[in-house]
Symmetry: C2
Subunit: 126 residues, 2 copies
């Protein structure tokens, strides 16, 4: 490769995670058209909520994530993903800390339609 | 958890990869609204192409992926991602086999605007 050429920086999940330690506050690390990739640490119980306008993708990087639905649940480990369909009520739960990626449209709130005190700040880049 | 409740299956990248061994043929493993998550094995050189209508996200699962641009390159390892902006010419290269995820709108062809013999079948689910 020509030495005059640029070396672009990859987006490294571990490096991004090392920049914050608070839980339940997603950080945006990349955009794909009108969608955002967010990285987040969570632990414990969240609230029941849904996203009436959009599906939501979860990719687990570390830990074990359970997503409860009204009629069941899915449990994700590292190297696993799940897409919660729009309008489906769900409640993430992590017995120990989980580090994960979320992929969803720009502007999607973590509490979706439910709102309330667990609503995180949106569109925080890292 | 109520024993009558359903246990939903996560999407496991390693399990999906174990279902095929051909290279350069993406398989769809999930959809997020009008976007698809595709898993693919690649090795060697691809062709220069661009996607005039969409950004394209790469997440490397195994191996080392170099994406060449006309003015430089980015090299991704496991746990790293990159978003190639729409309209930017790029050429993936893998010295050894790379296993990766692509996220892009349904209908996006692997050769984008370039077409030709390297164009893979689209919308193959696994």
């Amino acid at each position: 490769m020509d030495a005059s050429k640029r070396s672009y920086a990859p987006i490294n999940f571990a490096q991004k995670l090392a920049q914050f330690y608070d839980q339940w506050q997603p950080r945006v690390i990349a955009e794909l058209n009108e969608y955002q990739f967010k990285i987040v640490r969570i632990e414990g119980d969240f609230i029941w909520h849904d996203h009436p306008e959009t599906d939501e993708a979860f990719i687990v990087l570390e830990g074990s994530l359970r997503i409860d639905f009204r009629d069941g649940s899915v449990t994700l480990g590292p190297g696993e993903m799940y897409v919660v369909p729009k309008g489906v009520e769900h409640k993430p739960y992590a017995a120990g800390e989980v580090k994960m990626l979320l992929i969803e449209p720009r502007g999607t709130l973590n509490t979706g339609h439910a709102g309330g005190e667990r609503t995180a700040r949106n569109d925080i880049w890292i």
